[in-house]
């Protein structure tokens, strides 16, 4: 398989905090890839660097072998990387359909038709005329997924698609991802819900302190010592001393 998306030695720091440290990740075409790691491990920062919302201090981002490092977000989107956000970014006072038409800037009948197809696909077509702000949190996630799909990106980055969503909607989201993947779509998913990640992804990359500590199929990653260490934390031993280190 060939690398559709690749980051190479990406560094990013915020003040004194090194959020990404020599971060190299590869996503093969046609996979559903997971990106996991404890709080603060750099997952969302990596998404932001890939999609142009944060500038890499060093390192490169490649899409299908083409260098796209530090392009503006709209350029990255136009090149074929669609993303959703941890906290949904919809326009609450626009209707669901109007939201759908924002990314394709479309008003033509063909755009509306395509938008409606995507809404049907994610199962919220019935709400097309409703104000987006009236949707439940889970439905907003589906709307975000639909409007990323309407642009038909080469790869879809999902930031916590299952976060705060009830179980039946989680399953619905997982089913849609599987279906799209069967049709050839590539995904990179940040998610804390381990059942979701491990059940859905072919490949899982694990970040800790901004560095990749493991990558591979879910069953291999799950039993990796370094992954367990990343999640359970460093054991500081019995000699915790309040007079040290301040």
């Amino acid at each position: 398989m060939t690398a559709l998306l690749r980051t190479e030695g990406v560094h990013k720091s915020f003040g004194g905090v090194q959020a990404l440290d020599e971060c190299t990740v590869q996503i093969d075409e046609g996979t559903v890839a997971g990106l996991i790691g404890p709080n603060g491990s750099g997952k969302t920062t990596l998404f932001n660097v890939i999609t142009g919302y944060a500038k890499a201090d060093a390192g490169e981002v490649y899409l299908s072998g083409r260098k796209i490092t530090n392009r503006a977000p709209d350029k990255v989107f136009a090149l074929g990387i669609g993303r959703t956000f941890q906290l949904t970014r919809i326009f609450p006072s626009l209707t669901v359909m109007e939201n759908m038409l924002v990314p394709c800037r479309g008003t033509r009948a063909a755009d509306r038709k395509r938008a409606m197809e995507q809404l049907e696909f994610v199962g919220i077509a019935g709400y097309h005329a409703a104000q987006a702000g009236s949707l439940s949190y889970g439905q907003r996630k589906l709307l975000e997924l639909a409007y990323v799909l309407v642009a038909d990106p080469a790869i879809v980055l999902l930031d916590e698609p299952a976060g705060g969503v009830n179980l039946s909607l989680v399953n619905q989201i997982a089913d849609r991802i599987r279906e799209l993947n069967k049709a050839g779509k590539t995904f990179l998913i940040v998610e804390h819900n381990m059942e979701f990640v491990m059940g859905l992804c072919d490949q899982v990359t694990v970040l800790d302190s901004g560095t990749v500590v493991a990558a591979g199929p879910p069953d291999i990653v799950r039993t990796d010592r370094r992954v367990l260490d990343a999640y359970l934390g460093e054991d500081i031993g019995d000699d915790a001393d309040p007079r040290e280190g301040t």
Partner: protein, 265 residues
């Protein structure tokens, strides 16, 4: 009052469900607690006990309900079902201020000092509900006895301290009310590993001075090792509990964080 006690829980590994059997009396008993924020329950029937004089550490993956549990105890969130008994008295339905007066003091997750005020002023604010100035002065002396290092910084602006030092000052502020139960919500959040030792050492200092502590911690290994009792939550339920060491050494803890087979639940 004694320090951490590791000898009471059953010897055969952790138990499921409610807290491990202890002979120490419980300061806090949480029973069948269900709570959430309107979109369904985050806590789905949580029961646990906090034994007097110990450190009880709650760990678990993101979204397990740890912070929701803390918010329910301190009254910031009103549970839907269940009870929270402090020395037998139900806290459910009381305001945060009433719960504070009953002796439950929470140190929040995010840094919460007034940066432009001195360390002493910040610590004194912990006693804002006390009207008696002499009592406040006595408490300040007692707190500086627990944390002599903080007395050295008393005149400095809080904002000039390191992250780890600020945590210690927050602890000192919480001790001003001589809490019956001290709630610590992820005290290691945002601190470098080296500083962790300082903060965890300070937690031990407070416990050795007689304070009963309920600790929520993201660094599960460090938190459980420090604690006399451990509880693992996952998906709004208590999945493992026992002595800190038993929980720490239970192989199922990894599966609770990373998914995969867990024997029951």
């Amino acid at each position: 009052m004694t320090g951490p006690d590791e000898s009471r829980a059953p010897a055969t590994g952790a138990t499921q469900g409610t807290g491990a059997a202890t002979t120490a009396r419980s300061v806090l008993k949480v029973e069948d607690l269900a709570a959430g924020y309107g979109g369904g329950d985050v806590l789905r029937g949580v029961s646990l006990e906090v034994p007097e004089g110990g450190i009880t550490c709650v760990v678990g993956p993101n979204g397990a309900g740890k912070s929701t549990l803390m918010a329910s105890i301190s009254g910031l969130l009103r549970p839907r079902l269940g009870s929270i008994l402090l020395d037998g008295e139900n806290l459910v339905g009381r305001s945060p201020r009433q719960i504070l007066r009953l002796g439950v003091v929470q140190v929040p997750q995010n840094h919460s000092l007034f940066r432009d005020m001195t360390v002493r002023e910040n610590v004194e604010l912990g006693a804002y509900i006390l009207a008696d100035r002499a009592q406040t002065a006595r408490r300040l002396t007692a707190v500086f006895d627990v944390f002599p290092q903080i007395a050295d910084w008393a005149g400095q602006k809080a904002g000039s301290l390191s992250g780890g030092q600020q945590r210690l000052v927050e602890f000192a502020r919480a001790l001003m009310l001589e809490p019956r139960l001290l709630l610590l919500d992820e005290p290691s959040m945002g601190l470098a590993p080296k500083i962790l030792r300082t903060v965890f050492g300070a937690i031990r200092q407070m416990n050795e001075a007689g304070t009963t502590i309920l600790l929520v911690e993201q660094n599960a290994r460090a938190g459980l090792r420090l604690s006399s009792h451990g509880v693992v939550m996952e998906n709004g339920r208590v999945r493992l509990s026992g002595s800190g060491r038993e929980v720490l050494e239970n192989p199922e803890i990894g599966a609770l964080y990373l998914g995969g087979a867990v024997s029951s639940g």
